[in-house]
Subunit: 192 residues, 4 copies
DNA sequence: AATGAATGAGGCTTCATTCAT
DNA sequence: CATGAATGAAGCCTCATTCAT
């Protein structure tokens, strides 16, 4: 019992450190943040980070794991399953994605892409990340698929959203209402 | 005459070095390639790089400048202007983009995004890059716009393509024919 | 208690490193000594120096701060204040300065000038150094002033000594007794 | 004849390069100026400098040789030899040195000391410089000696002046008139 | 003689990781 | 477990000097 409680404490601290690490990554960029940065922002000694994470990569993975976890919660399609007409579905999609685009910190999206891109040349890293992202994308695509009855279209539309998220991260974006109405119009035309 | 010839030689060498640098960036990643790498792959001394580029950033900028230049040549929409029906336009778009997706090294696309993302926290760099990319995207979007008569749609479709390019870079892609037909279908439906 | 002890240890080590740095500066010259030199002579890794000093300049400043501190201790005029006649004062001055000239490593004096000269074109450095030297010279000049009742004369005599110190550093010097008697004679004639 | 003319041309150019080099040294400091700086300011290629000077040190030596040459011309004691009374001599000394202190660029004085100090740890350099300076100081000291009938006093007074010149270089100086009158007063008292 | 591109040794600094306390 | 000083590999950049043209 005591052990379990202690384990929980350790888990919580690990999460706390991961979140602070993500903050630093978002602020300074994936290849510019240092273990020192994280330690300082956490109020712990640098060495302590190594008690919780094998190395810097493990910390990064953990940080992005948390981010994806949070994204999963933000994008819940449970509602859509009950809706009926394509019109309603399209409306829901447009609204939800528009909201994400507006509300979710675009730098965090950006860092998602950054880590994906960066890990291209590191097999071990790529593997760990794939595990994290696979679930996430599988569920996302399933929902699109339920609307379009086509895997290709599902992929294309999710790509459209991700592309836009990236644009926003580098400073190019549409006004939310314009995005919402245009996105809905396009979805609806294709879904029919 | 002689002077002009020598200047040309210098220009050519600069381009050669930029291209080799891009190779290294693509291979190792933007923040993992070193000046040593580039020097070695070019068969010159490290110091020589500094004869041609003020510093590492300047080399990077130059490398990406060349890449975008190459991309501009690949994506020429001169043909499309003469085409007439939406059907033909859509076909042309789908075919061209599909070809790009198949032929153009996807890691290079990826590194385009990488540098954009990475420069987010470096004002000077961001400025230089913006100059490079602005032209490129302006012309791209104009063509889409000529088809859709809508800036928003133009942006969304280019985002779709870029998103897909990124997916491909991290290992997720559609078969070319499937992409081509689906992309064409979607374009056509929206263009009408 | 423990914390204080540790802080003291760190302070001591910083001082130790500064002193070794000064040794290297004196031996090799201000612009020829390297961080490597210092690290090696201290028996620590090069990186460790950066735990104690922000950069090379900070180390240099610290080294000279220590030197001036030591000089301050060597040149204490407390005795002179109690002496009475000009004759006695002159005698004391001549004796003390002669001793300094004989005993104090002349290369160290020289390096004092070297750093002053060298920092002429570095505002930040000049500022830091001014802080260090101001106190030192103020107190020196005050004592001369108490003898001559003239700021100009005080400055001229201190300049005479510094000039001589520099001469010695480049290998030109008078026999101590000759300096002492001549210096005393001159001081006395002017003080009257 | 032609050869002699050519030799003269070469000599002139060497002098020109030396002077430009001195300018750069004064501006940037002995250890911060580069061969590139000199070449650019001379309007020649870097490699050309090596046609005239074996290496950087030789250029420096030459630059300071010229400086001392110029100083020799500025400080001519020919007049003093004819003056008679100590009063007149003192007046002349004070006036001349005051003028030098006011007119002669203090940065150039400073660099004289800089090079002397800097060469302390380079035997070859020290030797070359000694040759240059020996003559200069010998003549200076002779004049002082003619006034004081004492080598020690001669040295002390020249040291006083050099010390002051250095002070001025680092920003500490007396108003010219004050220096002149005080210096004269002191000289006179000692000369009697 | 003049050029200036090329060289490469060498300097400063950063930072992930370790380890004694 | 926590700490943070110590490490040392590795990176960027400078610049005196050389040499083919």
């Amino acid at each position: 019992m005591v052990l379990q409680a202690q384990e929980q404490v350790k888990k919580d601290k690990k999460k706390y450190l991961s979140e602070k690490a993500l903050e630093m990554i978002v602020e300074k960029g994936l290849s510019n943040f240092t273990m020192d940065d994280v330690a300082k922002s956490c109020g712990v000694a640098k060495g302590s980070l190594y008690t919780y994470f094998k190395n810097k990569d493990a910390l990064i993975i953990s940080a992005f794991g948390n981010l994806v976890e949070r994204l999963k919660k933000v994008i819940t399609y449970e509602d859509i399953k009950s809706t009926d007409t394509a019109e309603e579905k399209a409306k829901y999609f447009a609204k939800t994605y528009s909201q994400i685009l507006s509300d979710f910190p675009s730098d965090q999206f950006m860092r998602l892409f950054e880590i994906l891109i960066n890990s291209t040349h590191d097999q071990k890293m790529m593997q760990d990340l794939t595990e994290i992202f696979t679930d996430y994308y599988k569920s996302l695509l399933q929902v699109w698929e339920s609307l379009f009855k086509s895997k290709s279209k599902a992929l294309l539309f999710q790509a459209m959203f991700d592309g836009l998220a990236m644009y926003k991260a580098v400073g190019v974006s549409l006004p939310p209402e314009e995005f919402e109405s245009t996105f809905k119009e396009i979805i609806l035309k294709i879904a029919k």
